[in-house]
């Protein structure tokens, strides 16, 4: 049974930031929702409440960066790039301010529907010069995201998980690397964020079906080690399947496709994720099933690539975690 960690970001951010006067904690009225309420109460001098005014917040953070501070901005990811995109560009990305953009509720991890689900943020951030992109897939990565982000000489976009988060890994994020979770030679599976746990759920069923899976997990999306990915692609016989909590345009599926095309790799690629669609409000397991982001969707994607069915059903997959939509660790599921 996988270990579940309660509010890992709350603990990790406080441990990282407390007492460092150059680190500031900015929030746009989503302080408890981003698990920094305890930090606000215990370290008020490092906490700057910016209210529901994201355009000002991003330019203000740029000014703080100019004054030598390293602001960590906390809000839901969508609110940090859709409305204030111009400010993100002009005040933070262009001048390479050391602003750490902690984007909560990546993809379908919220029942809040279209307005709350950042489904195209990776695509946007990948196309912004000077931007670094990190994504957390488990509690250990959430616990190490602050150090990883703060090691970057420039702005950093982080997809952060909150609430009750599974522990899948025992080593912290090492920026620029990728995790190799299995070293098979039939198919390469590439995942990031919450889809990594899904791929791990499918592991035993795929092995029982006689498939040898090579599985890599990405926490660093930009900059990206194309050479290492190509080595993994070269190690499998049949092709690559990507599974992402994001639209399939511009995210890790595109990243893999571009890498393969640039190098002239002639293998098959199946990109799984949100297929040119918005999502709607609902529980995470429901949304992952409905939009084809879960373990079963991965199995079907692999079957499609191989051109054969393996007779794997939901019952053959390791149990999905069923989180309560409302729970003590996240009072308002939003």
């Amino acid at each position: 049974m996988v270990e579940m960690v309660s509010r890992p970001y709350a603990t990790a951010f406080e441990k990282f930031a407390a007492g460092n006067p150059d680190i500031l904690c900015l929030s746009a009225d989503l302080t408890s929702s981003c698990e920094i309420d305890g930090f606000r109460d215990r370290y008020p001098d490092q906490f700057v409440s910016m209210g529901m005014a994201e355009q000002n917040m991003l330019s203000f953070a740029g000014g703080l960066g100019l004054a030598g501070f390293r602001p960590f901005i906390h809000t839901f990811g969508v609110f940090m790039y859709r409305r204030p995109y111009d400010q993100l560009m002009a005040s933070i990305a262009y001048p390479r301010r050391k602003v750490r953009l902690m984007g909560f509720l990546p993809g379908v991890t919220t029942p809040g529907g279209m307005t709350h689900q950042s489904i195209e943020d990776i695509s946007v951030m990948r196309s912004i010069p000077n931007m670094t992109i990190l994504e957390t897939g488990d509690a250990t990565e959430v616990e190490s995201i602050c150090e990883a982000a703060d090691s970057i000489d420039g702005p950093v976009w982080c997809r952060v998980l909150r609430g009750s988060v599974p522990r899948l890994f025992d080593t912290p994020i090492k920026v620029g690397e990728m995790r190799v979770l299995s070293e098979g030679d039939d198919i390469l599976v590439v995942t990031a964020g919450i889809t990594t746990e899904e791929a791990m759920r499918a592991r035993s069923a795929l092995a029982n079906a006689g498939l040898s899976i090579r599985h890599i997990h990405l926490h660093t999306i930009k900059p990206f080690d194309h050479r290492q990915l190509l080595d993994h692609i070269g190690s499998v016989k049949h092709g690559v399947v990507t599974l992402e909590n994001h639209v399939t345009e511009g995210g890790i599926g595109s990243l893999v496709a571009e890498t393969m095309a640039d190098a002239g790799v002639g293998k098959r690629l199946v990109r799984l994720g949100l297929k040119d669609t918005y999502a709607h409000g609902g529980s995470r397991p429901y949304l992952m099933r409905y939009y084809g982001l879960d373990a079963l969707a991965l199995v079907r994607g692999i079957e499609g690539l191989m051109g054969q069915e393996f007779g794997i059903s939901e019952n053959d997959l390791d149990a999905a975690r069923i989180d309560d939509v409302h729970s003590l660790v996240k009072a308002e599921a939003l």
Binding site: V48, A53, Q55, F60, G63, L64, S91, P129, G154
Partner: protein, 308 residues
């Protein structure tokens, strides 16, 4: 660093340089020189506490944008002196005033006159819309409405670090149409940011024409006060009034000076082009010649020999 000239002389010099530039290039940001020359002259010649420039008098060519691969990148803020704690900082929020700002740097001895000849030339850092790397600029402000927020963040940070230097933002009145301006003022009031100062060129003009015809903004002084700023309205061509305005007490609040100005002040023939004053391009050789004669007389100089 203080200039030998009076501020009136600096303002006249700014207008003469912008006039000469506009005649030679068949157009330019003439009305911004009419409305803002006193404000920028006053900032650079009197009010701002700035050190000596740290960049060469003749601007370097474009040196590339910020990137991890461009370690020698620097902004154009070195024309305003070093960034040390005691000195003031200035953002030109409407970067479309760049030509006027460059002329100010020349008139106050911070940039060589050759700098203006590089204006809007390919490969030059003296860009038409002031960029971070343009002389006297520290941030990109070509997207209007972001300057005050950036100034607020810098001012908050400098106050936290105990730096005595102030942060000034030169603004334009069109920026009050942007919601971000009001977000910035409310944040300044909430956080008690009183080392932030703005002087706004209220010339009632924007790109499409008179602001009243594009988007009515109402009584902006009352609006600024209601959002939590200290706000003083003055005649923006009256230097003694501007000087007095800067002395207004504003503990716990930013000070915003509204400088009410005329977009044809000292260049009366420009009124012919009302209400399209944002960028004046001459429509005929005849118009160009008439403007040359008229403005030269207004500014007390010979007409520009722009044929050469």
């Amino acid at each position: 660093m203080r200039n030998e000239k009076t501020t009136e002389e600096v303002a006249l010099g700014i207008r003469r340089r912008v006039f000469e530039h506009a005649m030679r290039n068949n157009g330019g940001y003439l009305s911004q020189a009419c409305s803002a020359a006193e404000q920028l002259a006053w900032l650079y010649n009197e009010e701002l506490n700035l050190g000596a420039p740290t960049l060469p008098p003749v601007p370097e060519p474009f040196q590339g944008v910020p990137s991890a691969d461009n370690p020698d990148y620097h902004t154009g803020a070195g024309y305003n002196g070093p960034f040390t704690p005691e000195y003031d900082r200035l953002f030109i929020a409407p970067a479309h005033y760049a030509l006027v700002a460059y002329a100010t740097l020349i008139e106050t001895g911070r940039m060589a006159p050759e700098g203006l000849e590089m204006f809007n030339k390919d490969g030059s850092s003296v860009e038409m819309i002031g960029a971070e790397h343009s002389p006297g600029m520290e941030v990109h402000n070509g997207t209007l409405g972001i300057g005050l927020s950036t100034g607020a963040g810098l001012a908050w940070g400098r106050k936290r670090r105990g730096e005595p230097g102030r942060t000034w933002v030169f603004m334009s009145d069109g920026e009050v149409q942007e919601g971000q301006t009001w977000e910035a003022v409310q944040a300044c009031a909430f956080h008690g940011i009183d080392n932030l100062y703005a002087i706004m060129d209220v010339n009632d003009q924007q790109c499409d024409g008179a602001m009243s015809s594009v988007m009515e903004v109402g009584d902006i002084a009352t609006k600024f006060r209601n959002f939590g700023a200290a706000c003083v309205e003055v005649d923006g061509h009256d230097l003694s009034a501007i000087r007095d305005a800067a002395k207004e007490a504003h503990e716990g609040r930013p000070l915003i000076i509204l400088a009410r100005t005329s977009p044809f002040h000292t260049m009366s023939i420009l009124e012919e082009r009302f209400p399209r004053l944002h960028y004046v391009r001459f429509k005929s050789e005849d118009e160009r010649a008439r403007f040359n004669t008229s403005i030269a007389a207004d500014l007390g100089v010979d007409p520009i020999d722009y044929a050469h």
